[in-house]
């Protein structure tokens, strides 16, 4: 239903709950995934407490049941539930829906001049299935054996055998939840791909699409091809857990490594699902903040495509230590190292965009710069692990934890701290506070580095991932002070996020009313009022005359931006092409 706004008013339920409007669905995803982000953060705090102060009672741990804490002290079985669920929530229910669920939904039609998604009803189902999956996953904490205990990667046979993991019900819930989530993601991604291909405004050619849309489009392609593999794997795992099949049971001819192959064949594209949209949105914001066209637009597009393509050829680097064929390992090493090339292109092009710009440091721009500098560290630390010999001491230690947090927190989350205030006016018609935003950025940037940078060092020292108590190892004892330091920084980092939460919630109601184009951007979405009305431009369609990055163009006159929809005397109207109909 894409009824234009002037049609009969819809009930609250149709309008905000079972909505088919892509913007409302995006906002629904936003609230749900921010909830899961908070939850994942809470779990992380408990992990940090345990690692920093093993054996000390968790403050406030008294409210947790005896099966999780004993005398306030986190139990080992609860600790592995924590690491498992922190990873699962953050990857599948926080970052992925925040980037893809929220911004693919919200931005694709708005930036391309569509009235809605190609399949609005499927879009609604995609959200509700994702929510259902999240609820099933969350319910794992409330079943008798507690949450899943095999790490977010669910390595079989640990995950397949309840007698070995100790969690009977929730392991199955994990599989079911992932099957549903994959279905939801595929539905969403089919929608995004179709919308990008077919529902563009006249004049919005492929190479006039903003990089955010390019990134989201490529991400959707990755998702559509990768998630079904995870779904298949989760189904095999579920059957192993419930009806006694033997896929991952070496005793009956199954293969333990098969799970890892299937999981990482999905998992590595998934890594790019989690970072490409962030890169795309950061590109938009950096061009806006620098008041300059993006440096090397075409190579940015091809870098995205290159990363996505190479992403299919590198999954084995997660399995270097799994006893894989060393020749295969060499192949994976080379393809992994090659990913550094398109990533380097992107970083240097962002810098090229800022070079000789006229930089405006609004909160989105600050966070975008934070993204570039932090993603660089994350990307560079990846090279250590891509070089297989160096990976040997570093694999499955805190070094990898540091690396992935530099990419996912320093990368994806900083991009979100940029994107949320940037498109907040478009969503809610109000601005988020710049002052709180700047304080939040500075403090987050400092505490974030204090938290995650030392993890590289304790990882080099050999601290294994997911261990409950590092102090029982002689070789880890000397670096325990650093663990304490990390924990304090992590608590501060978590506390600072309440600034963001406050800013977000407060601005919903009391933020400054947003002008139509608060960032003086060229994008199509800013030609609409804030918040964008139901049906977007319906029944009209905007005409597009140029690419999205014409900042400081000599044609713009005394302004330094040139909206895509602005018709200059020299511009000709694009010819709309009707959608093909009928059979062929």
């Amino acid at each position: 239903m894409t009824a234009p706004a002037h049609h009969e008013p819809m009930s609250f339920w149709r309008k905000y709950i079972f909505s088919t409007d892509h913007k409302i669905i995006g906002i629904q995803f936003l609230f749900v995934s921010l909830f899961f982000l908070l939850l994942g953060g809470l779990l992380a705090m408990q992990i940090r407490w345990q690692l920093g102060f093993p054996g000390k009672p968790l403050p406030g741990g008294g409210i947790l049941p005896e099966s999780m804490v004993s005398g306030g002290v986190i139990l080992p079985e609860y600790y592995i539930q924590l690491v498992t669920m922190h990873g699962t929530f953050m990857v599948f229910f926080a970052i992925m829906p925040l980037l893809v669920g929220v911004y693919a939904n919200f931005l694709i039609p708005l930036k391309l001049g569509g009235h809605d998604m190609a399949f609005p009803r499927i879009n609604m189902w995609s959200f509700w299935l994702a929510l259902l999956a999240g609820m099933i996953m969350l319910s794992g904490f409330f079943v008798p054996d507690g949450a899943p205990r095999a790490g977010w990667t669910m390595y079989a046979p640990l995950s397949a055998r309840p007698d070995l993991s100790g969690a009977t019900i929730s392991q199955k819930l994990w599989s079911i939840s992932i099957v549903i989530l994959s279905l939801s993601s595929v539905m969403g991604s089919v929608n995004y791909i179709t919308t990008v291909i077919n529902h563009r405004a006249p004049g919005m050619t492929w190479f006039r699409m903003p990089l955010s849309v390019w990134a989201l489009f490529i991400t959707a392609i990755l998702a559509v091809l990768a998630l079904p593999v995870l779904q298949g794997a989760a189904i095999l795992l579920l059957f192993d857990q419930t009806i006694g099949t033997h896929f991952f049971d070496p005793g009956a001819g199954g293969q333990a490594l098969l799970w890892q192959h299937l999981f990482w064949f999905f998992g590595h594209p998934e890594v790019y699902i989690l970072i490409l949209p962030a890169m795309g949105m950061v590109s938009d914001i950096i061009a806006n903040g620098s008041r300059k066209p993006i440096f090397g637009y075409h190579s940015m597009v091809f870098a995205i495509i290159g990363i996505a393509f190479l992403g299919w050829l590198v999954w084995g680097h997660h399995m270097f230590m799994s006893g894989m064929n060393p020749t295969l390992g060499s192949t994976f090493m080379v393809s992994t190292l090659l990913i550094a090339v398109p990533s380097a292109i992107k970083v240097f092009n962002w810098m090229g965009t800022m070079w000789r710009g006229n930089l405006r440091f609004h909160v989105p721009m600050l966070n975008a710069i934070g993204f570039v500098s932090m993603f660089t560290i994350g990307g560079l630390s990846g090279i250590f692990m891509a070089a297989t010999p160096v990976d040997i001491p570093l694999h499955d230690t805190q070094f990898i934890v540091a690396h992935l947090h530099y990419v996912l927190f320093g990368g994806s989350l900083f991009a979100l701290f940029a994107a949320i205030p940037y498109w907040f006016p478009k969503m809610f018609g109000r601005m988020m506070s710049e002052r709180i935003g700047k304080v939040h950025f500075v403090l987050t940037f400092i505490f974030y580095n204090m938290t995650f940078f030392p993890m590289h060092i304790i990882g080099m020292g050999g601290q294994m991932r997911r261990i409950y108590d590092p102090t029982i190892y002689d070789f880890l004892k000397p670096q325990q002070p650093l663990n304490v330091f990390i924990s304090y920084s992590a608590f501060a980092l978590f506390a600072v996020q309440f600034l963001f939460a406050f800013n977000f919630l407060w601005s919903l109601k009391f933020g400054k009313k947003a002008p139509q184009n608060p960032w003086e951007d060229n994008g199509l979405e800013w030609s609409l009022p804030n918040p964008a009305p139901h049906g977007n431009w319906a029944p009209k369609t905007p005409n597009v005359y140029r690419g999205p990055y014409e900042f400081s163009s000599p044609e713009a006159g005394n302004k330094d931006f040139l909206p895509q929809t602005l018709k200059l005397p020299t511009d000709r109207d694009p010819v709309p092409v009707p959608l093909p109909a009928g059979g062929h």
Binding site: I345, N349, F475
Partner: protein, 223 residues
């Protein structure tokens, strides 16, 4: 406090640490270039009244340069790494004079099988010791890793050695300790509730000490 990799304890440590240092230098240069560049741009090109950004869509030459440099560096790095990778992980690289041991991992312990005085595995004088790995200094040693239940990972930080033990697979790993002393094995793959305490001691002996230990075990401690 330790700020670096653990002390070197095997022949692998030399090349791996050198490679680590090399990558640290390469990435360090890249990091400094990016971060200093960012800070410079932030200061130099901040918006001021009357300024206007330089209107450009990019420069092919610059892009070719910053595509080529990482590409060449990465390929070179791949070639160098591959040499040591094969040396460490390829079955064919295990020295012919290697001393063979069996390591069987199960929740949550390491069972080390020794060949006994005849120095051959699979004979009747083999014996198994829980959570103690005794090896000879400067002697190439190959362990056959097996797992009982779930995936474990054999990790001795000082030797720069890590190898998963996968149920249903027989994986060979080899090393050559260079220093006598006591080390620890940790399990580097989440293997269940007791993952964190799946710890074993490693004793690197001189050949004489080792012989004595074997004889003592074979005499009294055989299971």
């Amino acid at each position: 406090m330790r700020w670096w990799l653990p002390d070197a304890g095997s022949t692998f440590a030399g090349p791996i640490d050198a490679l680590f240092l090399a990558i640290l230098i390469i990435t360090g240069i890249a990091l400094v270039v990016v971060e200093v560049g960012l800070v410079t741009f932030v200061i130099k090109y901040r918006a001021r009244p009357g300024r206007k950004a330089f209107y450009t869509h990019g420069s092919t030459r610059a892009e070719v340069i910053w595509t080529a440099i990482p590409a060449v560096t990465m390929v070179a790095l791949g070639l160098i790494s591959n040499h040591y990778w094969v040396l460490i992980k390829d079955k064919k690289s295990i020295p012919p004079n290697a001393y063979h041991l069996g390591v069987h991992a199960k929740q949550f312990e390491w069972q080390v099988t020794y060949p006994g005085p005849d120095e051959k595995l699979g004979t009747s004088d083999d014996f198994t010791v829980r959570n103690q790995l005794h090896v000879i200094v400067n002697q190439p040693t190959a362990v056959e890793l097996t797992a009982e239940d779930v995936i474990h990972s054999f990790f001795v930080p000082e030797w720069r050695l890590k190898q998963d033990a996968v149920p249903g697979m027989h994986i060979m790993a080899w090393f050559q300790p260079t220093k006598t002393g006591e080390y620890e094995i940790g399990c580097a793959e989440l293997c269940g509730m007791g993952h964190y305490k799946m710890r074993a001691r490693v004793f690197v002996h001189t050949p004489e000490d080792y012989k004595a230990w074997i004889a003592q075990q074979a005499a009294g401690g055989t299971e």
